[in-house]
Symmetry: C2
Subunit: 324 residues, 2 copies
């Protein structure tokens, strides 16, 4: 292995946004010497072949073929499919291989995959907390994980040499690594990711289904705040269906707390309690500053969205002006 | 008046994000020949003087002084203060002047301002649907309104010559203009702006107040979706307190619909109804596309947030690797 590479042979199973970004980042950073990928869709495999060497060195026809002889196998499929993929590749994993994933839920992935993991394989579940609203083989990019956190949830909770190798791999991709238990991961992500998605999916649906306000009005006046929610609510439906089905308990728990807090603010609105509203709004402002301060979001206003330039040509006036 | 200017003398009362952007845009586009501004805060007035000619030609000490001889007076203060400002400037408005505002609520602004509007003045409430999470005299910029919609709610509902002048002014600032009734405006904005803000303020508060997940974890793993909500929940607390106090009825109505929809998705999660979740998530994805298609948001993934480059130098490995 060269000094630069952390992994000799990397297999990525699933070529969506995250799998495609892991493969590209491993290639671009040199974290892996050889990157072999696969996807269950023939169209996706064909598309990855067209994209070429920036994505992968080889495209395998099956998950089993991709996993063969790999030093690190990363399963990057919706969490509901992780068990099936583990079962498919188990017999093909080499002695001492590291098996990992990228799923947004960890307890259920551990439960579903562990039964298939051979004793000679190091199973280390992982979750890089990064993404965009796009999906598919063209959505990924090598820089997706830079300055983002990747959570490892080793099953016995300890940092073995294999865990350290996986950590070094993610660090080569630009990520920060933190270890925690699968259960704690699922609670943390329920509030920082799953509940925000559920809320966004809900409100975007609400806006789409109103008798009094037309869809055209919702779209036109979305810059008042609504458009921010539509980005999140444009995320991959299969992935998110699986997240909610597999992290049900933590999501419902966080949802309960959210509903209590919403009831409290609703009451303040109903009663006209301006002080309660002001105090709440002033507190949440500080949290934004904390996120920007630790580099987890841009300090630029409006996420750095670029405004178009002012129109230069005088605007044609379609009617007589009374002040001309 | 020059060919280019729509307004001879513009007065902007309130130098926050919106007032400051109106003044700057009027200067940069030449929509007004002379821009005079004021703010009730001496510190803000001083800061505007320091910013200089890109912001305003003159800084008046009082709203009454700013309004004197102005052809267009735009009140840009929190909606709860619009009535008081109208009362303060009423006797100083010149014959034929246009009086407008930029408030996010229209029915209550009409109710609060109309009693003070002299018969020789054209009162045309307005709301430019644009903004960022920042506030204060340094937050504004001339391009804020480009490609955004400005809603006019003329009290009698008709497009008078004065309405046409105000429309031409906003168009010079790059905005699209639409007329509607104050009541309909308040319903539309309740769903496209006020409810999203209420939800964001709520969930950011929820995340900040959990026993099981630390604040540090919330900040670190916020890229999973939560950070998007913190931007909106960092908006000006005074402005938003007033919005909720003054658009109570429409906000509570939309909130009722939202809660019903949330209950439906919650039930689907609880029952493990994957099809219901998938179908909902696939539908909301289309709404995002609609917003991007009409130019109300960037097509770039992740709002165009720029990822940092991959680390180039080999990462120091703090421990021995078992595969070296």
């Amino acid at each position: 292995m060269s000094d630069n590479a952390v992994i000799d042979r990397l297999a990525v199973i699933g070529c969506g946004l995250i799998g495609g970004s892991v493969a590209r980042a491993a290639k671009a950073s040199g974290a892996a010497k050889t990157v072999i990928v696969t996807d269950r869709s023939p169209q996706v495999r064909q598309r990855v072949r067209e994209i070429g060497a920036s994505f992968a060195d080889q495209v395998a026809e099956t998950a089993a073929e991709a996993a063969e002889n790999a030093d690190l196998v990363i399963i990057a499929v919706p969490v509901g499919a992780c068990g099936a993929v583990a079962s498919e590749i188990a017999a093909h994993l080499k002695d001492g291989a590291i098996l990992s994933d990228v799923g947004s839920v960890k307890s259920s992935v551990v439960r579903d995959m562990v039964p298939f993991v051979p004793p000679h394989v190091h199973f280390i579940p992982a979750h890089p907390v990064a993404g965009t609203e796009n999906s598919g083989p063209d959505a990924g990019f090598a820089e997706l994980f830079v300055n983002r956190w990747c959570i490892l949830t080793p099953v016995d909770g300890t940092a073995t040499p294999a865990t350290q190798t996986l950590q070094a791999f993610w660090e080569k991709l630009g990520a920060n690594v933190q270890l925690m238990t699968p259960e704690h991961h699922d609670l943390v992500l329920a509030i920082t990711s799953h509940l925000p998605h559920l809320i966004a999916y809900t409100i975007v649906g609400t806006a789409n289904d109103l008798g009094e306000v037309t869809e055209s009005e919702v779209l036109k006046f979305s810059a008042g705040g609504f458009r921010d929610f539509t980005r999140i609510a444009a995320s991959d439906p299969t992935m998110w269906r699986d997240v909610f089905l597999h992290n049900k308990k933590a999501v419902l728990e966080m949802l309960g707390t959210f509903k209590e807090d919403l009831a409290q603010l609703t009451r303040a609105i109903r009663r006209g309690d301006g002080d309660a509203l002001f105090n709440h709004f002033a507190k949440t402002r500080a949290i934004r500053r904390g996120i920007v301060d630790i580099g987890q979001d841009s300090a630029a206003p409006d996420f750095g969205r670029k405004p178009a330039p002012l129109p230069i040509a005088p605007i044609a006036r379609p009617y007589a002006m009374d002040d001309d």
